[in-house]
Symmetry: C2
Subunit: 198 residues, 2 copies
DNA sequence: AGCTTACGCTACGCTACGGTATCGTATCGC
DNA sequence: GCGATACGATACCGTAGCGTAGCGTAAGCT
C-alpha cells in the first residue's frame, strides 16, 4: 500500500525502473489535473515525461492500469493535525482542510474527473472510497468522542452527520460553485452543533 | 428557451429537419447517459440514430455545440408539485424529488459527467447553474416563506441553508455513494429544522 | 406534377491514440 | 571492466473519431 511515488516502492529495485515509474506517474498525474481523466493518454504521458512509450508499456500492461496508479499516486497523505479540544474547533479544522483540499490543493482539479470516473469504473470507485474513508475517519472520531462526552445526542447517526457536515462543502465545490470560505464552514458547523445538542 | 425536444422548436420548420434534430438529440442524450460525456461522438450518434453523419454536420457546426444541446435537451421540466403547508413537508418533498432525480431518473447517470464537464467548459457550467437555479428556486421560496412566518430564524442565510439541505443529498450520490433513502432525507431536514428554530 | 430542399450514402483525408516489434545504446550491479 | 538489463528511438499496424465533398434519392411544399 506504499505510495509508488513518495516511497521508492521496493528497496532491491533497479533505480532505472524506479525513476521511470516515478517520472511517468508524475506526468500522468499532471495530465489528470490539467485535462481530466480523458486527457491521460499514453502518448501524452510519453511526450510530457520524456519516457518512451515502449518503456511505459513495459511497466503497465494497459492504459487503465496506469490511470489507476496515477490516481493512487496523487492521494495525498493526511497530516495528523491537532485541532484542539473542542468539538467545534475540530470540526471546523477538518472541514476547512477538506475545503482547502477541494479548491486550492494541487489535486483539486482532479476531483470532478475522479468522481465521474468512479461512477463507471468499480476499481476507481473503491479508490475514491478509500480516499474518503481516510479523510473522514478523523471526523468520525471527533463525533464519537463528543457523543461519549455527552456533547452530542447519543442517538446521532454518525454517517448521516458526516454527510451533513461534508455535504455542503462538496456541494459548493462541485455543484453550486459558490465560494468556500471559513465563514461558510463555521456556519455549517454551528448549525450542526445547534441541531445536535443533547 | 423552448426545449428542442419536447416543443417542435419552430412552427414553420421543415418536418424533416425537426425529425432529424429530435432523433439526433435523443441518441446523443442516450449516449451521454450510458457512456458519459466522452462517449458522445458524432459517429456514435450517427450509427445509433440512423441519421447520417453529414446531416448532423448540417445542423451543428461542431461537436461541442451538439453536446451542449444534448445536455440541454435532457434537462427535465420541473413539475410544479404541491408539498403541503408545513415547511418540513415541503423540504422533504423537494429533497426527495432531488434524491430520486439524482439516482433513479433517466438522466441520473449524466450527472457526474455533467459536473466534470462543467469544471472545464464555461458554457456547460452555466447550463448546470441554470438547471440548479430552477431546481432550488422552490426550496428558496419555502425557506423565505417560513422565515416570513417566523418558523425560522430571521438571520438565516438562505444560500447556506440550501447548501446544508441539498449538500448531503449530493454527497451521498456523488461521493460516499451510500443509499439515498427517504429516512436519510427526513433526518437531514429534521436536523436542519432543529438548528433553524427561531 | 414539378420544383426545392433535406437527406442518406460512400468515399475521402487527417489526426490522435493504443499497442507491438526491433535494434542499438546507456546504465546498473557485481 | 563486463555481462545483464532497462531504456530510447523508430517504425509500424489497427482503430476511432473529426470534418468535408459529391451525388443520387426521397420527402415536402405549392
Amino acid at each position: 500500500m506504499a505510495g509508488p511515488l513518495s516511497a521508492p516502492t521496493e528497496p532491491g529495485l533497479d533505480p532505472r525502473v524506479a525513476r521511470s515509474r516515478a517520472t511517468v506517474l508524475r506526468a500522468a498525474a499532471a495530465l489528470l489535473i490539467e485535462q481530466g481523466a480523458a486527457g491521460v493518454t499514453i502518448e501524452g504521458i510519453a511526450e510530457r515525461s520524456g519516457v518512451a512509450k515502449t518503456t511505459i508499456y513495459r511497466h503497465w500492461k494497459s492504459r487503465s492500469q496506469l490511470v489507476f496508479d496515477a490516481f493512487e499516486s496523487m492521494l495525498p497523505s493526511m497530516p495528523a493535525q491537532d485541532y484542539g479540544p473542542t468539538l467545534r474547533g475540530q470540526l471546523c479544522g477538518i472541514l476547512n482542510q477538506l475545503s482547502r483540499g477541494l479548491t486550492q490543493s494541487e489535486w483539486a482539479p482532479a476531483v470532478p474527473p475522479l468522481i465521474d470516473a468512479g461512477d463507471r469504473d468499480p476499481e476507481l470507485r473503491q479508490l475514491v472510497q478509500a480516499f474518503l474513508v481516510v479523510r473522514m475517519e478523523r471526523c468520525r472520531e471527533a463525533l464519537r468522542g463528543a457523543m461519549a462526552r455527552g456533547e452530542l445526542r447519543r442517538d446521532l447517526d454518525v454517517d448521516v452527520a458526516i454527510g451533513v457536515l461534508a455535504g455542503p462543502v462538496f456541494y459548493r465545490r462541485l455543484v453550486s460553485r459558490e465560494p468556500l470560505s471559513e465563514a461558510f464552514v463555521a456556519e455549517v458547523v454551528d448549525q450542526f452543533l445547534r441541531s445536535g445538542a443533547p
